[in-house]
Amino acid sequence: MKTAKQILIIIIIGVLFGLTANAINPKGVPLILEKNIYALDTAKQKKTIDGFVNDPYDTTSKKTSNNMMSGNMNKEGFIEPETITMELAKNLFERNALFVDARNKEEYDSLHVKGSINLPYEEFRNKSIRDRIEIMKKYNKDGVIVVYCRGDKCEVSIDLAYEIARLGFNSVNIYRGGIKEWKEKGFPTQP
Protein backbone atom coordinates (compact mmCIF):
# COMPACT_ATOMS: atom_id res chain seq x y z
CA MET A 1 0.00 0.00 0.00
CA LYS A 2 2.85 2.30 0.94
CA THR A 3 4.56 1.43 -2.35
CA ALA A 4 1.39 2.15 -4.31
CA LYS A 5 1.24 5.60 -2.76
CA GLN A 6 4.87 6.24 -3.62
CA ILE A 7 4.28 5.15 -7.22
CA LEU A 8 1.39 7.57 -7.41
CA ILE A 9 3.56 10.36 -6.01
CA ILE A 10 6.30 9.75 -8.59
CA ILE A 11 3.80 9.72 -11.43
CA ILE A 12 2.05 12.87 -10.21
CA ILE A 13 5.37 14.68 -9.93
CA GLY A 14 6.29 13.48 -13.42
CA VAL A 15 2.96 14.70 -14.80
CA LEU A 16 3.29 18.09 -13.10
CA PHE A 17 6.83 18.64 -14.32
CA GLY A 18 5.94 17.40 -17.80
CA LEU A 19 2.94 19.69 -18.12
CA THR A 20 4.86 22.66 -16.77
CA ALA A 21 7.87 22.06 -19.00
CA ASN A 22 5.57 21.71 -22.00
CA ALA A 23 3.66 24.86 -21.09
CA ILE A 24 6.77 27.04 -20.83
CA ASN A 25 8.50 25.35 -23.78
CA PRO A 26 8.21 27.51 -26.92
CA LYS A 27 8.23 24.24 -28.85
CA GLY A 28 5.55 22.71 -26.64
CA VAL A 29 2.86 20.50 -28.14
CA PRO A 30 -0.92 20.32 -27.60
CA LEU A 31 -1.84 17.80 -24.91
CA ILE A 32 -4.14 15.83 -27.15
CA LEU A 33 -3.01 15.03 -30.64
CA GLU A 34 -6.12 14.97 -32.77
CA LYS A 35 -4.64 14.10 -36.06
CA ASN A 36 -1.20 13.21 -37.14
CA ILE A 37 0.06 16.69 -37.84
CA TYR A 38 3.61 15.44 -37.82
CA ALA A 39 3.36 13.16 -40.79
CA LEU A 40 2.89 14.75 -44.14
CA ASP A 41 1.31 11.67 -45.67
CA THR A 42 -2.12 13.17 -45.41
CA ALA A 43 -1.16 16.37 -47.21
CA LYS A 44 -3.56 17.15 -49.99
CA GLN A 45 -2.29 16.89 -53.48
CA LYS A 46 -2.72 20.43 -54.71
CA LYS A 47 0.12 20.66 -57.12
CA THR A 48 -0.25 19.90 -60.77
CA ILE A 49 1.94 19.97 -63.80
CA ASP A 50 1.49 22.62 -66.45
CA GLY A 51 4.12 21.71 -68.92
CA PHE A 52 7.05 23.71 -67.62
CA VAL A 53 10.63 22.53 -67.91
CA ASN A 54 12.77 23.11 -64.88
CA ASP A 55 16.43 24.01 -64.84
CA PRO A 56 17.70 23.50 -61.32
CA TYR A 57 21.09 24.99 -62.08
CA ASP A 58 19.87 28.20 -63.68
CA THR A 59 19.88 30.50 -60.66
CA THR A 60 18.54 33.43 -62.66
CA SER A 61 15.47 31.63 -63.88
CA LYS A 62 12.16 32.60 -62.36
CA LYS A 63 10.01 30.59 -64.68
CA THR A 64 8.77 27.94 -62.32
CA SER A 65 5.27 26.69 -62.77
CA ASN A 66 2.88 28.72 -60.64
CA ASN A 67 1.08 25.58 -59.71
CA MET A 68 4.22 24.15 -58.24
CA MET A 69 4.55 27.15 -55.98
CA SER A 70 1.19 26.73 -54.31
CA GLY A 71 2.78 25.98 -50.93
CA ASN A 72 1.98 28.21 -48.01
CA MET A 73 4.34 30.59 -46.32
CA ASN A 74 4.43 29.57 -42.67
CA LYS A 75 4.99 31.55 -39.50
CA GLU A 76 8.73 31.06 -39.70
CA GLY A 77 8.73 32.75 -43.07
CA PHE A 78 9.48 29.94 -45.45
CA ILE A 79 7.34 27.92 -47.81
CA GLU A 80 6.40 24.60 -46.30
CA PRO A 81 7.51 21.51 -48.18
CA GLU A 82 4.72 19.30 -49.40
CA THR A 83 4.33 15.61 -49.93
CA ILE A 84 3.87 14.52 -53.52
CA THR A 85 2.65 11.29 -55.07
CA MET A 86 4.71 8.89 -57.08
CA GLU A 87 3.00 10.03 -60.30
CA LEU A 88 3.85 13.66 -59.69
CA ALA A 89 7.40 12.76 -58.69
CA LYS A 90 7.81 10.92 -62.01
CA ASN A 91 6.34 13.85 -63.89
CA LEU A 92 8.70 16.25 -62.18
CA PHE A 93 11.58 13.94 -62.91
CA GLU A 94 10.77 14.16 -66.61
CA ARG A 95 10.66 17.93 -66.30
CA ASN A 96 14.14 18.03 -64.92
CA ALA A 97 13.35 18.77 -61.28
CA LEU A 98 16.29 18.54 -58.92
CA PHE A 99 16.12 15.26 -57.03
CA VAL A 100 17.86 15.26 -53.66
CA ASP A 101 18.76 12.04 -51.90
CA ALA A 102 18.75 12.53 -48.10
CA ARG A 103 20.31 9.17 -47.26
CA ASN A 104 23.96 8.65 -46.42
CA LYS A 105 26.66 8.37 -49.05
CA GLU A 106 26.95 4.58 -49.04
CA GLU A 107 23.24 4.17 -49.61
CA TYR A 108 23.32 6.82 -52.31
CA ASP A 109 26.29 5.22 -54.03
CA SER A 110 24.63 1.84 -54.17
CA LEU A 111 21.50 3.13 -55.92
CA HIS A 112 19.83 6.48 -56.46
CA VAL A 113 17.37 8.27 -58.71
CA LYS A 114 19.10 9.08 -61.97
CA GLY A 115 20.67 12.51 -61.87
CA SER A 116 19.91 13.06 -58.19
CA ILE A 117 22.35 14.78 -55.89
CA ASN A 118 23.27 13.47 -52.44
CA LEU A 119 22.83 15.63 -49.34
CA PRO A 120 22.96 13.28 -46.36
CA TYR A 121 20.62 14.79 -43.79
CA GLU A 122 22.79 13.76 -40.86
CA GLU A 123 25.68 15.76 -42.29
CA PHE A 124 23.60 18.66 -43.54
CA ARG A 125 21.98 19.12 -40.15
CA ASN A 126 25.35 19.56 -38.48
CA LYS A 127 26.55 22.20 -40.89
CA SER A 128 26.38 25.90 -40.16
CA ILE A 129 23.82 28.01 -41.96
CA ARG A 130 26.62 29.60 -43.98
CA ASP A 131 27.83 26.20 -45.17
CA ARG A 132 24.29 25.19 -46.04
CA ILE A 133 23.81 28.32 -48.10
CA GLU A 134 27.17 27.69 -49.77
CA ILE A 135 26.08 24.19 -50.76
CA MET A 136 22.69 25.27 -52.04
CA LYS A 137 23.61 28.49 -53.79
CA LYS A 138 24.28 26.78 -57.09
CA TYR A 139 20.65 25.74 -57.32
CA ASN A 140 17.69 27.79 -58.42
CA LYS A 141 15.57 28.92 -55.50
CA ASP A 142 12.52 29.00 -57.68
CA GLY A 143 13.27 25.64 -59.18
CA VAL A 144 11.44 22.50 -58.18
CA ILE A 145 13.19 20.25 -55.71
CA VAL A 146 12.13 16.72 -54.83
CA VAL A 147 13.62 15.21 -51.71
CA TYR A 148 13.46 11.49 -51.06
CA CYS A 149 15.07 8.85 -48.87
CA ARG A 150 14.75 5.10 -48.53
CA GLY A 151 10.97 4.92 -48.61
CA ASP A 152 8.75 3.08 -46.14
CA LYS A 153 8.72 5.16 -43.02
CA CYS A 154 11.99 6.97 -43.49
CA GLU A 155 11.84 10.55 -42.35
CA VAL A 156 15.13 12.13 -43.24
CA SER A 157 13.57 13.33 -46.49
CA ILE A 158 11.05 15.36 -44.49
CA ASP A 159 13.72 16.78 -42.22
CA LEU A 160 16.03 17.65 -45.09
CA ALA A 161 13.19 19.18 -47.10
CA TYR A 162 12.43 21.54 -44.24
CA GLU A 163 16.07 22.54 -43.91
CA ILE A 164 16.25 23.30 -47.62
CA ALA A 165 12.98 25.22 -47.55
CA ARG A 166 14.30 27.29 -44.65
CA LEU A 167 17.07 28.50 -46.94
CA GLY A 168 14.44 30.12 -49.12
CA PHE A 169 13.71 27.47 -51.71
CA ASN A 170 10.18 27.94 -52.85
CA SER A 171 9.12 24.58 -54.16
CA VAL A 172 10.50 21.82 -52.03
CA ASN A 173 8.62 18.55 -52.33
CA ILE A 174 8.86 15.31 -50.45
CA TYR A 175 8.50 12.02 -52.25
CA ARG A 176 7.68 9.54 -49.49
CA GLY A 177 7.78 6.48 -51.70
CA GLY A 178 11.52 6.94 -51.82
CA ILE A 179 14.07 4.94 -53.73
CA LYS A 180 12.24 1.73 -52.82
CA GLU A 181 9.08 2.58 -54.74
CA TRP A 182 11.05 4.29 -57.51
CA LYS A 183 13.02 1.09 -58.08
CA GLU A 184 9.95 -1.12 -57.89
CA LYS A 185 8.30 0.96 -60.60
CA GLY A 186 11.36 0.52 -62.76
CA PHE A 187 11.97 4.27 -63.05
CA PRO A 188 15.44 5.47 -64.05
CA THR A 189 18.15 4.88 -61.47
CA GLN A 190 21.90 5.06 -61.23
CA PRO A 191 24.45 3.53 -61.15
Binding site: Q6, I10, I11, L19, K27, L33, E122, K153, E155
Partner: protein, 155 residues
Protein backbone atom coordinates in the same frame (compact mmCIF):
# COMPACT_ATOMS: atom_id res chain seq x y z
CA UNK B 1 22.62 -16.37 -4.73
CA UNK B 2 20.02 -14.49 -2.72
CA UNK B 3 22.83 -13.34 -0.51
CA UNK B 4 24.74 -11.94 -3.43
CA UNK B 5 21.71 -10.32 -5.05
CA UNK B 6 20.71 -8.67 -1.82
CA UNK B 7 24.27 -7.59 -1.05
CA UNK B 8 24.19 -3.94 -0.16
CA UNK B 9 26.96 -2.89 -2.52
CA UNK B 10 25.66 -4.97 -5.40
CA UNK B 11 22.26 -3.36 -4.90
CA UNK B 12 23.75 0.13 -4.86
CA UNK B 13 25.83 -0.51 -7.98
CA UNK B 14 22.82 -1.94 -9.79
CA UNK B 15 20.59 0.97 -8.85
CA UNK B 16 23.18 3.53 -9.89
CA UNK B 17 23.70 1.87 -13.29
CA UNK B 18 19.96 1.57 -13.93
CA UNK B 19 19.38 5.10 -12.70
CA UNK B 20 22.04 6.52 -15.00
CA UNK B 21 20.56 4.72 -17.99
CA UNK B 22 17.10 6.05 -17.18
CA UNK B 23 18.33 9.59 -16.70
CA UNK B 24 20.49 9.43 -19.82
CA UNK B 25 17.57 8.17 -21.87
CA UNK B 26 15.21 10.84 -20.59
CA UNK B 27 17.31 14.00 -20.51
CA UNK B 28 17.34 14.54 -24.27
CA UNK B 29 13.56 14.24 -24.37
CA UNK B 30 12.55 16.47 -21.46
CA UNK B 31 12.23 19.59 -23.58
CA UNK B 32 11.59 18.08 -26.98
CA UNK B 33 8.06 16.71 -26.82
CA UNK B 34 7.50 17.13 -30.54
CA UNK B 35 10.50 15.08 -31.59
CA UNK B 36 9.67 12.42 -29.04
CA UNK B 37 6.04 12.35 -30.17
CA UNK B 38 7.29 11.68 -33.70
CA UNK B 39 9.43 8.83 -32.39
CA UNK B 40 6.39 7.36 -30.60
CA UNK B 41 4.25 7.75 -33.73
CA UNK B 42 6.72 5.74 -35.74
CA UNK B 43 5.82 2.70 -33.68
CA UNK B 44 2.17 2.96 -34.77
CA UNK B 45 1.47 1.51 -31.36
CA UNK B 46 -0.40 4.04 -29.24
CA UNK B 47 -3.77 5.54 -30.16
CA UNK B 48 -2.96 8.91 -31.64
CA UNK B 49 -4.73 10.85 -28.86
CA UNK B 50 -2.26 9.62 -26.27
CA UNK B 51 0.90 10.25 -28.25
CA UNK B 52 1.49 13.84 -27.15
CA UNK B 53 0.63 13.37 -23.52
CA UNK B 54 2.98 10.37 -23.41
CA UNK B 55 5.71 12.43 -25.05
CA UNK B 56 5.18 15.18 -22.48
CA UNK B 57 5.00 13.08 -19.33
CA UNK B 58 7.01 9.90 -19.91
CA UNK B 59 10.49 11.47 -20.05
CA UNK B 60 9.88 13.23 -16.72
CA UNK B 61 8.64 10.09 -15.00
CA UNK B 62 11.67 8.27 -16.43
CA UNK B 63 13.94 11.05 -15.21
CA UNK B 64 12.59 11.02 -11.64
CA UNK B 65 12.61 7.23 -11.59
CA UNK B 66 16.30 7.37 -12.46
CA UNK B 67 17.01 9.94 -9.78
CA UNK B 68 15.13 7.90 -7.16
CA UNK B 69 16.86 4.67 -8.18
CA UNK B 70 20.24 6.29 -7.67
CA UNK B 71 19.36 8.04 -4.44
CA UNK B 72 17.74 4.95 -2.99
CA UNK B 73 14.57 6.80 -2.00
CA UNK B 74 11.34 4.94 -2.81
CA UNK B 75 13.33 1.93 -4.00
CA UNK B 76 10.33 -0.36 -4.36
CA UNK B 77 8.18 2.22 -6.08
CA UNK B 78 10.86 3.38 -8.49
CA UNK B 79 11.85 -0.16 -9.41
CA UNK B 80 8.20 -1.02 -10.09
CA UNK B 81 7.78 2.02 -12.35
CA UNK B 82 11.06 1.20 -14.09
CA UNK B 83 9.98 -2.42 -14.60
CA UNK B 84 6.58 -1.45 -15.97
CA UNK B 85 8.07 1.07 -18.38
CA UNK B 86 10.64 -1.47 -19.55
CA UNK B 87 7.88 -4.04 -20.15
CA UNK B 88 5.96 -1.45 -22.18
CA UNK B 89 9.08 -0.55 -24.19
CA UNK B 90 9.72 -4.26 -24.77
CA UNK B 91 6.22 -4.85 -26.08
CA UNK B 92 6.53 -1.82 -28.36
CA UNK B 93 9.95 -2.87 -29.62
CA UNK B 94 9.02 -6.50 -30.19
CA UNK B 95 5.78 -5.63 -31.93
CA UNK B 96 7.60 -3.12 -34.15
CA UNK B 97 10.16 -5.77 -34.97
CA UNK B 98 7.51 -8.41 -35.64
CA UNK B 99 5.62 -6.07 -37.96
CA UNK B 100 8.84 -5.38 -39.79
CA UNK B 101 8.69 -1.66 -39.09
CA UNK B 102 11.99 -0.22 -40.12
CA UNK B 103 12.13 2.55 -37.57
CA UNK B 104 14.66 4.13 -35.32
CA UNK B 105 14.20 3.15 -31.71
CA UNK B 106 13.92 6.59 -30.14
CA UNK B 107 15.25 4.99 -26.98
CA UNK B 108 18.17 7.28 -26.32
CA UNK B 109 18.61 9.65 -29.19
CA UNK B 110 15.71 11.05 -31.12
CA UNK B 111 17.71 11.37 -34.30
CA UNK B 112 19.31 8.03 -34.84
CA UNK B 113 18.40 6.40 -38.09
CA UNK B 114 18.73 2.79 -37.33
CA UNK B 115 18.40 -0.60 -38.90
CA UNK B 116 16.61 -3.68 -37.67
CA UNK B 117 19.79 -4.96 -36.03
CA UNK B 118 19.53 -2.00 -33.74
CA UNK B 119 16.04 -2.95 -32.60
CA UNK B 120 17.20 -6.46 -31.70
CA UNK B 121 20.06 -4.93 -29.76
CA UNK B 122 17.64 -2.67 -27.90
CA UNK B 123 15.36 -5.62 -27.11
CA UNK B 124 18.25 -7.56 -25.57
CA UNK B 125 19.37 -4.48 -23.67
CA UNK B 126 15.84 -3.96 -22.42
CA UNK B 127 15.65 -7.55 -21.13
CA UNK B 128 18.85 -7.07 -19.14
CA UNK B 129 17.60 -3.83 -17.65
CA UNK B 130 14.29 -5.45 -16.76
CA UNK B 131 16.17 -8.22 -14.96
CA UNK B 132 18.04 -5.49 -13.08
CA UNK B 133 14.94 -3.61 -11.99
CA UNK B 134 13.27 -6.84 -10.87
CA UNK B 135 16.33 -7.71 -8.80
CA UNK B 136 16.19 -4.28 -7.18
CA UNK B 137 12.53 -4.79 -6.43
CA UNK B 138 12.80 -8.32 -5.06
CA UNK B 139 16.05 -8.17 -3.18
CA UNK B 140 16.52 -4.60 -2.03
CA UNK B 141 14.95 -5.27 1.38
CA UNK B 142 15.77 -8.96 1.88
CA UNK B 143 18.33 -8.31 4.60
CA UNK B 144 15.94 -6.09 6.49
CA UNK B 145 13.16 -8.65 6.31
CA UNK B 146 15.47 -11.42 7.48
CA UNK B 147 16.57 -9.29 10.40
CA UNK B 148 12.97 -8.52 11.30
CA UNK B 149 12.06 -12.20 11.10
CA UNK B 150 14.94 -13.25 13.34
CA UNK B 151 14.11 -10.48 15.76
CA UNK B 152 10.54 -11.73 15.92
CA UNK B 153 11.77 -15.28 16.49
CA UNK B 154 13.83 -14.10 19.43
CA UNK B 155 10.77 -12.49 20.96
Amino acid sequence: MTNFLSNKYFQIALRVVLGIVFIYASVGKLFRPEDFAKAILRYEFLPIYFVNIMAIVMPWVEFFTGVLLISGIFKKASSIIASISLVVFLIALISAFARGLDISCGCFSLEETSTKGDIIYRIVQDFFMLAGTIIVYKFSNVKKIQETVSAEEVN
